[in-house]
């Protein structure tokens, strides 16, 4: 996904001389093509994210379109007040690019997991939030962001697996349907998309059909699309590599309440800090109830499906 971003950004920069790339000394093996092609528009700000965001504010006020790049935790949180008082307050076209959203930095541990970044950005009304689910969607999303005059938070994963059925579709403010069904709505964002589709396949084996939707535009939120998807299903399950509060799960809960929808909502995601348990992303997803099997079991239990043997909660919830 990072490479898709970097190559697409080179294409954008070729067509638009306003594009500037700043990095907080990260992007080895990813950003070199941009740096070589546009050395006069590439700046390593050093390990100094606050200043990087502040400078982007000054650059954007002058008419440039700066992308500031770092690991998602550092990009979103180290300079958060600079983001808030700079691009957000001045409504300037700074693109904050956080790489490795969720727990994609697996073995690197808690300091490198961005599991609240969407939440802290989503409280800012004019901060557009885009979370591509795979590389093709990343390539599709970037050109549409270029047209936005205000700030954008772009959360990229490290994984490169394509999401089946997504086919690189992206529309700002819309959700993308990747599976049709009647029994349950699976609504996924970021790293949740691949596991949600796998969970849908498991449910299919048990005779349940899922309408599966990928939300990549968290702000503007695809409220109308979500309302349409949720209308007429008994159960919805959100799937995200983020805390259940603040991100997609909260967005869908708000939509159900504000649109007066009748479905029951389950939220899969993190409910405790993923600390002291580094490992592969698959391991971490397993630990936090985000494996396809755990997701399918959750749905089966709540639908009281005949023959269901799964516990009512994933293991980690029972233990806490």
């Amino acid at each position: 996904m990072r490479s898709a971003f970097a190559s697409e950004l080179v294409r954008l920069a070729e067509a638009d001389e306003r594009v500037v790339l700043l990095t907080g000394d990260l992007g080895f093996g990813v950003l070199e093509p941009f740096a070589r092609r546009f050395p006069e528009r590439f700046f390593n700000a050093g390990v100094a994210e606050q200043n990087m965001v502040g400078m982007a504010t000054g650059l954007a006020e002058a008419g440039l379109t700066p992308y500031v790049y770092s690991i998602a935790t550092f990009a979103s949180m180290r300079g958060y007040e600079f983001i808030r008082n700079g691009p957000i307050l001045h409504d300037l076209p700074v693109r904050v690019v956080g790489v490795g959203g969720g727990m994609d930095y697996g073995h690197n541990g808690m300091t490198h997991y961005a599991v609240e970044d969407i939440g802290i950005m989503r409280v800012q009304p004019n901060m557009r939030i885009v979370v591509p689910a795979d590389p093709a969607q990343t390539r599709a999303a970037l050109p549409s962001l270029q047209q936005i005059d205000g700030p954008v938070y772009l959360r990229l994963g490290k994984e490169s697996s394509p999401v089946p059925g997504l086919d690189g579709r992206f529309r700002l403010g819309r959700a993308e349907t990747i599976g049709h069904g009647e029994d349950v709505a699976l609504i996924a964002a970021g790293g949740g998309a691949v596991v949600a589709t796998a969970a849908a396949a498991l449910l299919q084996e048990r005779g349940l059909s899922a309408r599966t939707v990928v939300v990549s535009s968290l702000n503007p939120a695809p409220v109308a699309d979500l309302a349409a998807v949720l209308d007429g299903v008994e159960l919805a399950l959100t799937v995200e590599d983020h805390y259940v509060n603040g991100g997609l799960g909260s967005l869908v809960a708000e939509t159900i309440a504000e649109e007066r929808l009748g479905c029951r909502l389950l939220r899969a995601g993190l409910r405790r800090p993923p600390a002291g348990e580094s490992g592969s992303r698959d391991h971490l997803f397993e630990r936090h109830g985000l494996s396809p099997a755990a997701l399918a079991a959750l749905v089966l239990a709540r639908l009281d499906h005949a023959g269901a043997t799964a516990p009512a909660h994933p293991r980690h919830e029972a233990a806490t």
Binding site: F43, A48, Q50, G54, G58, L64
Partner: protein, 266 residues
């Protein structure tokens, strides 16, 4: 010329803060002569997108800026009368929605980064815009100031001029008592690769003369360490910590006006 402008700024500071019943008077008086230097000829404040940029990083002293905008005909005095009123664009910290304010500030430690970006943009765009950032000495407690200082020197942002209001005070005490690493400020800025000038912060013409000699086209960024007196020109306010916050009562206001006016006549 700049002396008259400086006096008008100082009078506006004490009059408007009295009328509005608000503080930050000492901080605003501290920079009145610096702002007079900028708006008395240093800053190319007009010219649309090609104007110089000014970042008042110590946003709590904004009354000095409003006063300068009025004194130089950039803001109607009726608008100044809304200072700290309900629904005003003239709050106690500057907002960019107000004509004449390039950037909203108020959270210390952010202005130099914005200024560095503005200076970098000017260079990338082949513009001769310059960028002036007015900092407080206490604001240099913020680590982000030094992130910006390092980048600006690394990138040799010659068109960036930081002016530090060295009044030696901060909200709860004197800077030497609060957070003083030992070496003088000049050494810290020099160590970060800046060209340092120590100036009298109450000599607008002298400041203008120093700026006129700066090489703003190539070389390192520039910092003017401006020695100032907090509450300058009002005897009971000068170098007194409490005047970071206190508003004026009637008698204090009358005395402040009398002192400022007699100093001008002297």
């Amino acid at each position: 010329m700049t002396t008259a402008l400086a006096h008008e700024i100082k009078r506006t500071i004490v009059d408007e803060s009295k009328r509005a019943g608000v503080g930050h008077i000492g901080s605003a008086l501290s920079i009145a002569d610096l702002v007079a230097a900028l708006y008395g000829g240093v800053l190319r404040a007009d010219g649309g997108p090609e104007r110089d940029r000014f970042v008042l990083s110590k946003g709590h002293a904004v009354l000095a800026l409003y006063a300068a905008l009025v004194a130089t005909g950039r803001m109607p005095s009726e608008q100044l009368a809304t200072y700290c009123g309900d629904g005003t664009l003239l709050g106690a910290h500057p907002e960019h929605a107000l004509d004449g304010v390039d950037f909203s500030t108020g959270s210390l430690g952010q202005g130099l980064s914005i200024g560095a970006g503005a200076a970098l943009a000017a260079r990338m765009q082949g513009s001769d815009r310059r960028v002036f950032v007015l900092l407080s000495d206490a604001e240099c407690n913020e680590g982000s100031i030094w992130e910006a200082a390092m980048f600006a020197a690394h990138a040799q942002l010659a068109n960036l001029v930081a002016i530090v209001d060295v009044n030696g005070q901060q909200a709860l005490g004197y800077t030497r008592d609060v957070l003083d690493p030992g070496p003088p400020a000049s050494a810290r800025w020099e160590a970060c690769g800046w060209e340092v000038h120590e100036v009298d912060g109450h000599d607008p013409d002298g400041i203008a003369a120093v700026v006129a000699e700066l090489d703003l086209s190539s070389g390192p960024p520039h910092v003017l360490l401006a020695r100032t007196v907090f509450g300058k020109g009002v005897s009971f306010m000068e170098s007194r910590i409490e005047w970071h916050y206190l508003p004026l009562d009637d008698a204090q206001h009358a005395q402040a006006v009398a002192e400022l006016d007699s100093a001008r006549e002297a």
